[in-house]
């Protein structure tokens, strides 16, 4: 893998990978950390399980390279595969799909401000309470919140990842925020006026 390959965009790398499988390693290098974080934010799987899922995601991506629709961003497409594989793994193995504490303080602050939770209200164990509250949300609400506020995707991208209409995504995000606020209120964390 030379440095010029690393500068190429995802679509070029996909086309290259179809001719030369070695080029697929650029995709893996480019996305392995992002996807690892995403899986860990979505679940409480062990590192071994996350590696198994990650391997399945990239193998599935490689098999389906010809199905990649260039009207979407490659990132949305591979996140879609990652999301579906994670949910499938969870269903197959009946594991508990908790969010972990893998949300850093900076992301958490940004997320909290999005739902009008003031920094001054942070308590000692705010991070723990916040992630616990996210865990209490239904799976679809938890996914949209993580994709929007932690992964930083826009509605269009989340729509492509979760394969739901953008309007539905907007509704889910609103409902998820409302439900999260209710749960946080019960735990003593309140919204500012």
């Amino acid at each position: 893998m030379d440095n010029s390959s690393l500068d190429q965009n995802d679509v070029d790398i996909v086309n290259l990978s179809l001719k030369d499988k070695e080029s697929f390693s650029i995709i893996i290098v480019r996305y392995k950390d992002k996807l690892r974080k995403y899986i860990k934010r979505l679940t409480s799987f062990s590192d071994d399980s996350v590696d198994d899922i990650l391997q399945e995601i990239f193998i599935k991506t490689y098999i389906n390279l010809n199905d990649f629709d260039q009207s979407l961003s490659f990132s949305s497409w591979i996140y879609r595969i990652a999301h579906n594989e994670t949910i499938n793994y969870f269903r197959k193995n009946k594991k508990h799909i908790d969010a972990t504490n893998l949300i850093n303080d900076e992301d958490l602050e940004a997320f909290a401000s999005e739902i009008n939770i003031e920094k001054e209200q942070y308590k000692e164990h705010f991070n723990k309470i916040f992630t616990e509250s996210i865990n209490e949300l239904p799976e679809k609400y938890k996914s949209v919140l993580i994709l929007k506020f932690i992964e930083g995707n826009d509605y269009e991208a989340i729509s492509d990842i979760l394969q739901k209409p953008p309007g539905t995504i907007a509704t889910w995000i609103n409902r998820a925020k409302k439900e999260l606020k209710v749960i946080l209120n019960k735990k003593g964390i309140h919204e500012y006026e």
Binding site: K21, I59, Y62, I63, D67
Partner: protein, 270 residues
Amino acid sequence: MNNEKIQNNIEDKILAKISTEHIEPKAKWKFLLKNSYFWLLGLATIILGALTIAVSIFVFENIRWELYKATHENLLTFLIDFIPYLWLMLFLGFVIFTQYLIKKTKHGYRYHLSIIVGSILVISTVLGIVFADLGLGQDIDQGLDDNLPFYQGIKKHNDSLWNDPNKGLLTGTISLVNNDFILTTEDNKDWKLITNNLNKDLVKQIGSDGDVRIVGVVKNDQFYVCGILPDFDDLIKAPPNPKIFFERNNMIERSIECEGVRPYARLLED
């Protein structure tokens, strides 16, 4: 540390797996075929749905609303009796299946259910109107009536309600035998008609045009006619209100025998 090592090696592990297990990307045509399959099947179910609409339109066009008072208590009971449940249920099934197929296409997820269902309803209805106009609704209804013993087409259903002399209703074809009008029913039973003061030339004319519908009363194994209505096609040319048709064409018998005949009295109501 260990986790970092695994992470560093994951691309090698995946590439090794791809090589050793001879994993290849699936051919593009397989994905195109899959996507086309959902679109083509969706198109087929839209056409089938439109055909059910065409039959429903044919049924509603041939329901003979203007005569509901002769056979039913009110318009509601008449509608309940004539709603083409089978076709509407089939249509609903096709709509559900079509939206499922469209959701399965590559970009189907982007559209809200209401937009997909709304589009299916509009396209099916427009196509259904075109198919009905081409006569496909009639062909299907009559074709099934002829070939399936358990299926009753709209004409047969309507006729069956009018083939009830004890309730004062008769339908069939009229012929003139030895100066007597004879009505032959669908089940080949002959009724001699007593037409007294009716316009006999018109009885002869509408009798020769097709099936007639008669309200009257059984009297000594003959049918005492209180009013005659022509076949549907003729009635379209005539006023849709049977009372106006009776009165304008002198096709009504205002004798004492007719006063107690329920369908007769109902058709003369304002």
